[in-house]
């Protein structure tokens, strides 16, 4: 470890460490680039790839992001952008769960979908993409649907979860499991020109407000579909929320929901009552 640290120190330019040096250190000391990045950040060295973060995210905060584990439930429209942005942000461990493979109708909006990987599992594409974009980030791919049975295992040790699922039923289940485990969750959903997002902090329950009875499995997206920009917009807002949760900064979108109308370019803030849900026993 001391050798690795000495090597990193000798390679550093000011407090920046280049990617080439990270790779050289990994080769020389038979370490993963993941552990080299952690060692560098622990020493107060900022990997050079993050240097434009610095006025926003300090080296200590970058280490905090790197030691964080975020679960991305769904690797479709929202999920693809979530994987991309969280990896570029430098969140160290991403658990990505999705049972599906790519189909042609995903190509209009899903960042990870390409003509070459049609038929391939979405979570596999997530691993490949992060391997190209930020190899220091660890992706744990789970080609399975989120369910009550596997939920607790999937969310174990998570610092935050992101809801990028595509049925109301699964979303309600994810929110319930997050609540049981005390994991903060960032909800996002899209349909056509429209989208919404909200944060559920431990102790809160957003589902009765957003999905009422939860009996309708799908929303108006079944008739509207989704264009390229709506998932990108909503996923970016979700990542900003996750970043704040992990760093304990700013004001999160809990106890309120944001409804986006990109056609009229209107953003409506909807209050989520803090008391018991409507219709719930007093």
């Amino acid at each position: 470890m001391e050798d690795l640290r000495g090597f990193l120190r000798s390679c550093a330019q000011g407090d920046l460490i280049s990617w080439a040096s990270q790779v050289a250190a990994a080769d020389r000391f038979l370490r993963s680039v993941f552990s080299v990045e952690e060692a560098a950040l622990e020493m107060g060295l900022m990997p050079a790839r993050y240097q434009r973060n610095r006025r926003t995210i300090s080296t200590a905060e970058q280490l905090r992001l790197f030691r964080s584990r975020v679960v991305i439930a769904g690797a479709g429209g929202l999920g693809g952008y979530l994987v991309e942005e969280l990896a570029r942000l430098g969140v160290g461990t991403l658990v990505v769960a999705d049972p599906d493979t790519f189909e042609e109708h995903n190509l209009n909006r899903q960042l990870l979908a390409t003509p070459a990987n049609l038929g391939a599992p979405k979570v596999e594409a997530a691993v490949e993409r992060v391997g190209r974009v930020n190899p220091a980030v660890r992706v744990i791919p789970l080609q399975c649907a989120f369910s009550r049975e596997n939920g607790a295992e999937l969310l174990s040790r998570a610092d935050a979860a992101v809801d990028a699922l595509d049925t109301v039923t699964d979303r309600v289940e994810l929110a319930r499991t997050c609540r049981e485990l005390g994991v903060p969750m960032v909800h996002g959903a899209i349909a056509g020109w429209y989208g919404q997002m909200a944060t559920q902090m431990p102790g809160e329950d957003i589902t009765p407000f957003i999905y009422r009875s939860g009996n309708e499995p799908k929303g108006v997206e079944t008739t509207l579909g989704n264009p390229a920009f709506t998932p990108a917009a909503v996923a970016s807002l979700q990542v900003a929320e996750v970043c704040k949760i992990l760093l304990g900064q700013g004001r999160c979108l809990n106890r309120r929901m944001l409804f986006l109308d990109l056609l009229e370019m209107e953003f409506e803030e909807v209050p989520i009552a803090s008391g018991p849900a409507p219709g719930a026993p007093a």
Partner: protein, 70 residues
């Protein structure tokens, strides 16, 4: 009464409506032909409400469609 997103199409953004006493959210949604299964968030005077909530004079009602795509 305020409608959002797709609910505006062929209807209105904002409208002032007179309804008979005891009319519920569900009742007024039916009057403007909103399919109940497409209804997501319902606010009466800025607070969440059930479809069964009866409206009173001067209430402001806002209805959003159910959005669930990912």
């Amino acid at each position: 009464m305020k409608l959002f997103a797709t609910f505006r199409k062929g209807r209105f953004d904002v409208d002032v409506r007179e309804v008979s006493p005891g009319t519920t959210v569900s009742g007024i949604a039916g009057e403007v032909a909103l399919p109940e299964k497409e209804i997501g968030i319902v606010l009466v005077n800025g607070r969440h409400a059930d479809l069964s909530k009866a409206l009173s004079d001067g209430d402001t009602l806002a209805i959003f469609p159910l959005v669930g795509g990912g």
